[in-house]
Amino acid sequence: MNLQSFRSLSRAMALGYVRDRTALIFTILIPVLFLVLFGSIYKNSTTPKLSILEVGKVTLVDQARAASPGELGKILTVTPAGSLAAALSDVRKGTDDAAVQQRGNRLVVHYSAADPTKAAVVNSVFSTIVEQFNLAATGRPPAYRLVSHQVEDKSLKAIQYLAPGLLGWAIASGGAFGASITLVGWRHNKLLRRLRLSPVSVSSVVAARIWVGVALAVVQMFAFLGIATTPYFGLKLTASWWMAIPVVISGTLAFMAIGLLVGAAAKSQQAASAVANLIILPMAFLGGAFIPLEFAPDWVRQVSYVMPLRYLVTGMQNVMARGLGPASALPSIGILLGFAVVVTLIAVRVFQWDEI
């Protein structure tokens, strides 16, 4: 491989990319836009408070609120209701989550089964209140107490998981689209033919493309992190975050390989773009980029094991969000590199340098 050819081609490719101001801005901005969008959705990602309607006087609930206002206040809000009929209608409609009445020593809870999660929470909250009063009524001290601690750092917020996910998606898109569309375009305008007619080696061309792709991905990563760590978004980078750089590099290689495969066979730039989209977008959902895998159904979690994006995202999350040591990123790097090698070999086999 000739160094002069490599440098010259790299420079030409980089200039061509960087001078497309619109594309460049969007490449940086779109992940940030998604960050704003998803960030605001997940911002207060705790379960919303229950809205309870109090019909008549419900002494039990009032006493419970007086006894521990802070804790109960976090879980539910209580508003007085005009009449039982009005309250029931509101609960049916879903405006409120439950209506409570007290008849003597019975606490009557009217709830809607439309949202099973909420129904369960409603029932368990009031059951707890009743049992606590039962216990207090016996006069005996409780035999056991419940103490709970959150495992993660208190400062952990949704953004810690969201940012690596979105960055992973951005890197994957950039790698796949960039490689495929450029290649198909070059084949179409016969630039590839022109290169083939010069003494430059195939490896110089491929190496230059890879080098430019990786450099751009790293720049994209720093730009994105620079924006995400500002106070508005509040991403906090944990100690070994710099290990994300090799993760990003191996992720870029893996997705450029996919782009190479798509570009190898696609007949036009539109086709290349469509196929790349077909691969990347579902993968973003199934690989844990848009929806954290913790919240995803079981089958999604199973499928994600074959998605390279999963390893890119979890690799970054491990070192950037979960605060794990550098070694935690190694499995991701290994898998991504292996994937890159295999797919590149297939792509080289299938590749057409000219339209016949």
Partner: protein, 316 residues
Amino acid sequence: MSRRILPLCNVRVLGVPAAIAVRDLRKSYGDTRAVDGVTFEVEPGEFFGILGPNGAGKTTTLEIIEGLRQPDGGEVAVLGLPPWPRNPALLPRMGVQLQASSFFERLTAREQLRTFAALYGIPAGRADAMLEVVGLTDKAATRTEKLSGGQAQRLSIACALVHGPDVLFLDEPTGALDPQARRNLWDLLRVISAEGRTVVLTTHHMDEAETLCERVAIMDHGQILKTGPPAALVRELDQPVRISLESGQLSLDEARQLAGGDAAVADDEVSLTIVTSEPAEVLAELAQRRALAGLQVRGGNLEDVFLNLTGREYRA
């Protein structure tokens, strides 16, 4: 196809082998015989043209010679070497002008040229000098997307020449250009040829072939019909000459008598036309009578040669 040096590269009279030697070349796509037994040779320093209508097989022939396609049969040698499979030793000695859009995106003319030059190990200074040769110095900092058709074609030729090849291939170089741009490009090509390079041109423009080429091969349906210098081919035809004069100088009868027995004479109120195989006599007579106003003389051209060879009207 074998890798041996072809015996085709005969030792010529002066001991110089042919620059390009093609023998019995064949290439089919499915049932279509794109190239059907093509044989010709190009001398070093010659300006050679392959002429024919669209679909004649010119481009495929050129692609095989450039080493982009593998022929189904026959032999090719460029500067004594086979172009297929891809031969990095031969490539620097060949220059291929591709269509005007084969450029890197968003680079200026100077940057394109320097990038291509670097692929051959040519320093940037020589690349800039090439810009001057093709007359694009004042467009050096313009992006290729903003160049006009003619300028883009010239840049394309510059990219093909920057490494100083011995053989230059041009495929329809004046394709979509306006007449002025075409003429300018012709001037450039003449300069390049005068430097001693071998130039092979394909075109469907008869006037281009007549003006530029020292020898042409007329091609149709994958076969070469005839080869030779354009002027010689035309003269071989012995085509009658068409003499056209302003109407009103001679009456129809007078013209018929002057022209002689086998000449065709016509008058459409605008021009008096005499078609004769003895132009010298007719012209002398006309000169004597001082009846030469609005004189136009047209001999045969390559279109007539084509018609004669194929029995078909030449339709580009």
